[in-house]
Structures are given as structure tokens and as C-alpha cells.
Symmetry: C2
Subunit: 342 residues, 2 copies
DNA sequence: GCGGTTTCTGAAAGCGGTTTCTGAAAGCCT
DNA sequence: AGGCTTTCAGAAACCGCTTTCAGAAACCGC
């Protein structure tokens, strides 16, 4: 019976031996940390090639005290939202020579009686925190140690001084709701909120309320529903409203996923979008422009947000000063589902 | 000026000192690798708690020769496809106590004159390979070393014996084509292939041909077109057919994107779907259920594929025997575009 | 030629764990 | 009580790399 484990790889000592130098010299050639004679260098490089040598990441980390890896903490990966986000983060990290480690907090579990940290700082040089599952206390713990942290789509407790990358949610929401009011004469506009406590959702709601107020429309609590940023949830809520005879002429869904669910519910009930009910979303995910009707929404630069956040974190890791708050602009994208036809 | 770097974390020695034991004992408590007296154990645990100690992953890796991390190699992260895939992989990995490291091969870059391996085996215990950017030679290199590898949506060169997770493309394709034949009496069914050489596409075509044969329908080469799994390509091909007067009563598009393009072309030519021409796709992306008409298609269990692949890889890492081939079942999803009305 | 750089290289001390080996103390048997 | 096995704990040898320290050789100006 043959052994199945990985064959032993060449180490720095093997390279040193073959090249007839010390391991320190090999290390220098590898990292360019000190001058090495031309000839020595080429011998070492030949040995490296001959042995197909690659340095052992963990040993490097241990000796060099850096992991060249950033961590990303997510609530869970679903819907059309995370794809561009991860893409932005990954490409930005890769450009800077960092790896990306992803963790979700979906159901954090306990092991051996202790809470396992979601991402231990030992594994990463810094952490990108998206989820709101990480409590302020935990944030403080990391932050207090001087561990580099950047928050995505969520602000830090004011005492903590952690950089934040987020969107102009309120302005975006207000603009799309105003579009419904001004261009399409909507007066009864429903709102599907995100998960309770979600900051994006709060600001979008604030923008929605502001638009209503500015145009003298009273807010009707009956028109607020839990969309949960989820198409299935949204579908259920809208279906229920229709069943109960709640009347509305437009829906501002908290995000595009919820907008899709809303449209499903309306269509299933025999209503036409946008003729009977206008529907608008938020995010402008890829599908938004492909569905029928094409969705009017607010473009959130998700990939850019990811890219920026990763960059910020890496700057922080490298000891540079960074802005405390990056607010990314949103943009109204008018298509068909509001009643326009572009 | 204060130093910004991370504060020093407690090490196993600190714990040992505080608990009045040796580091070996602390390690045993941590890993449960050898019996430790009740009282000693509790002292150690107290010290761990008091110091807020967490073991250093890299040190552990170096000494213990495992990383507890699996790598995922992707061509690039885009579209609605990768979200469920990553989610499946991540959750499966997490359940098994593994981390997930993601790399894309988008533009692999060179550094210091050598090609950087996309994911070095030092960083991970095994690798999930999705991309076809990794050549057979590179696969052979990893595999030859006994490094655990699992392929996703792509079969291995027969000499290599690497496990594969993929879909029952053929059965799925056959079922949807048979549906067209049996339920809707279609006889002239066009097929839009994916990119040439794409394995998914080959099998779907095989299923399509089988369905035709079983029902005594001759295959007409004029009804095969290059859909490229792309809506624009598919639109062009179908438009051309219509211009040439090619006659057909149904289109089996290689995937949902191509199906959307086909529908566009038909609609623009004044034909009705499904009354004049039925259209079916493959994948069941989110949009499929939202478009008009709602698309009849074959559901591909993307998230499940990710989950299974990760499980397979982890079994492999743990030295267990695994199947060489996991074929995930697909499921016919009947909606409207075939002529049904569900 | 001679002290004083500069340039290059090697020995060795960690980094923070795991694991083997060895030994002391405790438990068991006759 | 004496010899035997168990049970538990510590010393020390790694794991593969980075980095400091120190030294040898080459180079410098005069």
C-alpha cells in the first residue's frame, strides 16, 4: 500500500545545498533584501528552478510576521450582490500581492467550549468586515489591539475610529423615489425594508421618507414591509398585500433582489409592471438590465466599493494614513419598470 | 509618536508560564492529543481565558503540516453563477473546519522573473479547480505530487485520476427536449451550442441528439448553431436563421443566456413565444423565472455542486477514498416558454 | 602598503507551535 | 512490599523561513 500523502517538497536548505551557499543567501535572492553577487544569484536561481522550489508560506509568515492575506467577513453569500463585491476585493488584493480569505458568519459554531473567532488575526494581516453579526465589542477587541480593520456598508461605533466604506444610500433612495413622484405621479409608494438594523436599509428608508415629505405625501405605515433584501421574502410580502387589498401604485424595493420578488408577485397576480404598479430597486445588479421589464434602480458601485475597501485595508496594513470615511456616489438608472421606456 | 503595529499577542509560552506547566501540556489541552489531568487542564484553560490566547495559525501549520484551508481557483468572479457556487463551497468547508482561500486566474502575473503559481500548495491542503486556464500539464504537476485536487465542471485527462464534480447535462438536456417533443409535438427543434470544446455543451448536445433519436426524429445539421452561452450571439444566430427562412418549431438553447437571446430575436421578428416557436434553456438562473414568458429550463444545482466538491476535496485531504466522478442530477423546470402555462 | 569603508556571505537565533522521548508518580498484582 | 504497567508532564528536537550579527574579501584614497 502506497502512502497517499503529499510528497515532500524542496526546502530552502535543499536549494542552498545544491547551489553551494547558505540558506541566508537563498533567502536574500528570494526577497531581494540584501545585495547578492551576480554569479551567486544565478546559481541560486538555477537551483530553485531545478528543484521546482517554492517557499513555504507558513514558515515565511512565522518568521516574517506577515501573512500577505486579508480576510473578508460576510454574513452569507447569496443573491446577485456578493459576486461583484468579492470580485472587486479579490482583484484589488491580488494587485497588491495579497491573498483573500473568506469567512461567513452564517452559523458560527462553538468548538471545545470556546467561541471560535470568525477570523483570527493570526491568519490575516487585516480584516474587511461586512457583516453586522460582529458585535461592537468584538470590533473593539480587534481594533484595540491595533489590528487593521475596515468596515464595509456599515459604520463604526464613534469611539472606535475604524475606516468605513459605504454608499450614498440616502441620496440615491431619495432620487429614485422622487423620480416616481415627479415623473410618474405616484402617490402611494410602498417600501420594502432590508433586514432590521441594516444600515443601508435605514438610510434608504430615510431617503424614501424625505422624498415623500418634500413632495407633501404622507407616509402610510401600511406600505412598509420587510423585504429582507431577498426576492422570496419580498414576493411573499407583496403577495400578502395584494391578498389583503392594500392599494399602491409603486414599490420602492430595498434592493434589486426584493424588486425582482415584487415583480414576480405582481405578475402572478395578473398585474402589469409598470402599467399597473411601478417597481424600482436599488443596487443595479447585472440582472437588473436584462429582466423584463428592465429595472429602474439606483446604481451602487458595488465592485468599486470592494476595490476601495481592500485598498484601504492594505494601506492600513502597510502603516499608511487613510481616510476615515469613503462615501461612494450612487446614480439613478432609469429603465422601464418605473414607467419610462429607455 | 506611538507605534501603530499590532500589539503582541499571547503565545503558548505565556499560557504555560501563567498556568505553571510546560508548553507541551498546553498544546495537549488545546488539541486533546494526550490525556491531561482534570486539574491541570482547568488551570491551563483559565490561563488561556485570562490571556485571551489563540494559537498562531502559521506556527501550527509549520509544526503540524496542515493548513486547514482549501483553495478555490476560478477564472474570474462575475455573473450570477459564482455566487451560489462560492456559497456552497464555503459553507461546506466551514462545516468541516476549513478556511477558504480564493484565487482568480484572470491575469496571472509574473513576479521577479518566475511565474507565480496561482495557488501554492503550501498555503492550502488541497485545491478546487474550476477554471480551464490551468493546463493539463499544471494539473499533472500538482497531481503527480499527491496534492489533493478536485475538478469542478470539467473532467480530468484520463491519465490523471482526479475526482470530478459535474452535472447530468445529458439527462437534463434529454428531458427538456423530450418535453418539447412529447408534450408539445415539436419536430423541428434547433440547438444552440456553447463555446466549442465546452464539456457542458457537448453533453447537452448528446442529450438533445438522444432525445431526437429515441423519438424517431432525424437530426438536421441546419438546426445547429453556435450560441456560445451568450445572449447576443444567440440572438444573431436565430435572426440569421429567420432571415434565411430556416424553419423550426422550437429552440433548445445551450443555456439560459442563449435562450434569452433567442427570444429577443424571435420577438423582434414578430414571432410569438411559445405560440409560434417554443424556447427552452438550461441552468435556471434567477432571471429565468422572472422574464416574460417565464422560461422553461433545466435546473442546474450550482450550490450543491460547490458543496459536494468541497466535501470531496476535504475527504481526499483526510485520506479517505472518494468517488472519481460525482454527477449531480438536473431537474426539468417547466414554466411558460415551452407552451405550458405554469 | 595601510587603515577604513563597502560588499558579500554564513552562522545562528528566533518565530510559535507539535510531537517524540523520557521519566516521575500513581495504581495494580502477587 | 516489590516489580509491573499506566497516567501524566516536561525537555528538547524539529517545522522552514527571516534577520541580526559578525567576519572575510574586495575596494578605496593617499
Amino acid at each position: 500500500m502506497t502512502v497517499q500523502r503529499s510528497l515532500k517538497r524542496a526546502t530552502i536548505s535543499d536549494v542552498a545545498r545544491l547551489a553551494g551557499v547558505s540558506i541566508a543567501t537563498v533567502s536574500r535572492v528570494l526577497n531581494g533584501t540584501a545585495p547578492v553577487a551576480e554569479e551567486t544569484m544565478s546559481q541560486v536561481n538555477q537551483a530553485i528552478a531545478a528543484l521546482d522550489y517554492a517557499p513555504h508560506a507558513a514558515a515565511r509568515t512565522l518568521a516574517g510576521r506577515r501573512t500577505d492575506t486579508i480576510g473578508l467577513l460576510l454574513p452569507e453569500i447569496s443573491g446577485a450582490f456578493y459576486s461583484p463585491l468579492i470580485h472587486g476585493i479579490e482583484s484589488s488584493a491580488r494587485e497588491a500581492g495579497f491573498d483573500l480569505l473568506i469567512h461567513t458568519t452564517a452559523d458560527r459554531f462553538r468548538e471545545r467550549g470556546r467561541i471560535q473567532l470568525p477570523l483570527d488575526e493570526h491568519n490575516t494581516d487585516g480584516l474587511l468586515v461586512f457583516t453586522d453579526r460582529l458585535s461592537d465589542a468584538e470590533l473593539a477587541r480587534f481594533s484595540g489591539r491595533g489590528f487593521p480593520l475596515v468596515l464595509l456598508y456599515r459604520t463604526a461605533p464613534p469611539t472606535l475610529d475604524i475606516p468605513v466604506v459605504t454608499l450614498e444610500n440616502k441620496a440615491g433612495a431619495r432620487s429614485v423615489v422622487e423620480h416616481l413622484i415627479v415623473e410618474h405621479g405616484c402617490r402611494r409608494i410602498a417600501f420594502l425594508a432590508g433586514p432590521s438594523g441594516n444600515e443601508d436599509s435605514c438610510w434608504r428608508e430615510a431617503g424614501y421618507l424625505e422624498a415623500l415629505r418634500v413632495h407633501g405625501i404622507d407616509d402610510d405605515p401600511a406600505l412598509h414591509g420587510p423585504g429582507e433584501f431577498d426576492s422570496e421574502q419580498a414576493r411573499a410580502v407583496v403577495a400578502q398585500w395584494l391578498g389583503q387589498g392594500v392599494s399602491f401604485d409603486a414599490i420602492f424595493a430595498g434592493d434589486d433582489d426584493a424588486a425582482m420578488g415584487s415583480i414576480q408577485a405582481l405578475t402572478q397576480a395578473g398585474l402589469r409592471v409598470p402599467e399597473d404598479v411601478a417597481v424600482v430597486g436599488f443596487d443595479d445588479v447585472l440582472l437588473a438590465g436584462l429582466m423584463v421589464p428592465r429595472l429602474t434602480t439606483v446604481r451602487a458601485p458595488i465592485e468599486t466599493a470592494g476595490r476601495q475597501a481592500a485598498r484601504l485595508l492594505i494601506s492600513l496594513i502597510q502603516g499608511e494614513e487613510v481616510e476615515r470615511l469613503v462615501l461612494l456616489p450612487t446614480e439613478l438608472v432609469i429603465r422601464q419598470s418605473c414607467g419610462c421606456d429607455r
